[in-house]
């Protein structure tokens, strides 16, 4: 996963940190599809073990992958959840119930907030502030090849699909969002949805 090194608009991102809740399923190119992961998975840039997911499938030829960045409304309204959705993990607003779907925090000279710290916590499950975003990625032709393609084989003979996230897309994936004007996002709403639109474009399958 990518780590921010610079922000557009004259600012600079230092100590970037990002976490994403995603539950996903892989899709075969039309004939079949299979849900590979039913529970939410928390991707924490500070915890390398969370960056690798081991999933098993009967699909021989994976052409597309689809996952949701966020937590569905059922889990947002169903009381205290466990596993990677445990509020203990901090991706949760206790005072205004709801999960934080993605977090980007750091310092930037562009941010005129206290200590130039910017904190973007993105969430929201209720309309009209729903920040759930589904990401679908083409794994590409030649999927299933044993070497060279995007689905290479690891040392243990398992297929590997590498998904990269370009953190700069948070700032301009679909429309520009500036740290100068909005260094803080701590609640669902228009800003959170714009940033969600932006970061939903940050994923790509890396050859």
């Amino acid at each position: 996963m990518g780590e921010g090194e610079g922000a557009r608009g004259g600012g600079e991102v230092r100590n970037g940190e990002r976490e994403v809740h995603g539950s996903g399923h892989d899709r075969d190119g039309g004939r079949e599809e299979e849900v590979l992961l039913k529970e939410a998975h928390l991707v924490d840039e500070g915890d390398s073990s969370s960056l690798v997911l081991h999933l098993s499938t009967d699909l021989a030829d994976i052409r597309r992958i689809s996952f949701v960045v966020g937590v569905d409304s059922l889990a947002n309204t169903g009381g205290v959840q466990g596993g990677d959705l445990d509020p203990m993990l901090g991706m949760f607003w206790t005072w205004n119930t709801g999960y934080v779907y993605a977090r980007l925090e750091g310092e930037s000279d562009s941010a005129h907030s206290p200590a130039h710290r910017f904190t973007w916590d993105i969430g929201g499950y209720k309309d009209p502030s729903n920040a759930l975003r589904t990401v679908t990625l083409d794994v590409g032709a030649g999927g299933g090849s044993t070497s060279g393609g995007v689905q290479g084989r690891g040392a243990d003979g398992k297929k590997e699909i590498c998904i990269t996230a370009d953190v700069l897309k948070w700032f301009d994936g679909k429309s520009p969002v500036h740290l100068v004007r909005t260094p803080i996002c701590h609640q669902p709403g228009a800003l959170a949805m714009r940033i969600a639109d932006n970061y939903s474009t940050m994923f790509s399958v890396t050859p």
Partner: protein, 352 residues
Amino acid sequence: MRSLRTIGCLLMVIAMGLAWMSGGRKPVPMKLPVPAGWPAPQYDFKKNPLTKEGFLLGRKLFYETALSRDSTISCASCHQQFGAFATYEHPLSHGIDNTLTTRNAPALENLAWEKEFMWDGGINHLDLQPLAPLTAVNEMGETIAEALHRLRRDTAYVRMFSEAFGDTAINTQRMGKALSQFLVMLVSADSKYDRVIRGKDSFLLPERLGYGIFQQKCGSCHREPLFTDLSYRNTGIPLDNTLNDYGRMRITGDRRDSLKFKVPSLRNVAITHPYGHDGRFFSLLNVFEHYRKNMIVTPLTDSILQHRLPLSNFEIGQLTAFLNTLTDTTFLKNPLFAPPGYVITPVFIHRH
């Protein structure tokens, strides 16, 4: 000799009872007492069945100061039973390190009938509610992880979580469920008003007159039997520029929700002073003065209060008499809700 044998048998029975209580048995089911004529509770008991063990664990957690960062504050610090589980005579709640919150601790009563919590309704599930005061820096100031860590090191909790949930795992979900089991049992439905409704008592004249005035002027928002319709309303309370609390708008982001707060229940109202979301009204008289004279009416003020709420001095007197009938001493002194091992001395017993 026979009496000795009888005592021996009794001891056996007690010993068996104790073994049954502590030995990996299934928790004993409990039932929420639903008063006659009340609507169905909102809490989903299918996902969290009430049990004696769960309730006792929840009660212990409610009185547990180790949940706060410096082990000085428990839920009960601000939710005192003798004050209907509000904070007696304090406008704003106190947190650790000489901090103050921005709001008046609401009474905890009949929570099984509520779906949203806090003055702004920001919390959508009772199981999640305790996480807010637990983690707020101006309340208990602790992380969930550290609080759970402390509970896991306490053998009494290891045993009680096991008795309530079947194994020794102590986690956020179980802590929330146990606390909910205690909280939903805080049912207040045995005031004089309730006895009158049940035909077991009768109002004095001022109380009866006050009840009529109440139904006419207050009851549409403070709806019986909960004495709240659980809605959010702007009642013309102006913004305090040190607290800057816009209420419901903070949750919805909708300007029309500016300065809206949840309609509080009036059950036990005589002892839950001060009143208002920030405790700015010290007595019922202050509240009446607000409604009839001091309201700041704006286009966002509730439609039924656009002309304030005219109240004569006579009406205020009768209303006060009626509101006093909502005090439920059975609830305030119920030893089931007191800290484990604590016996409430009934103050109303006349001693010579």
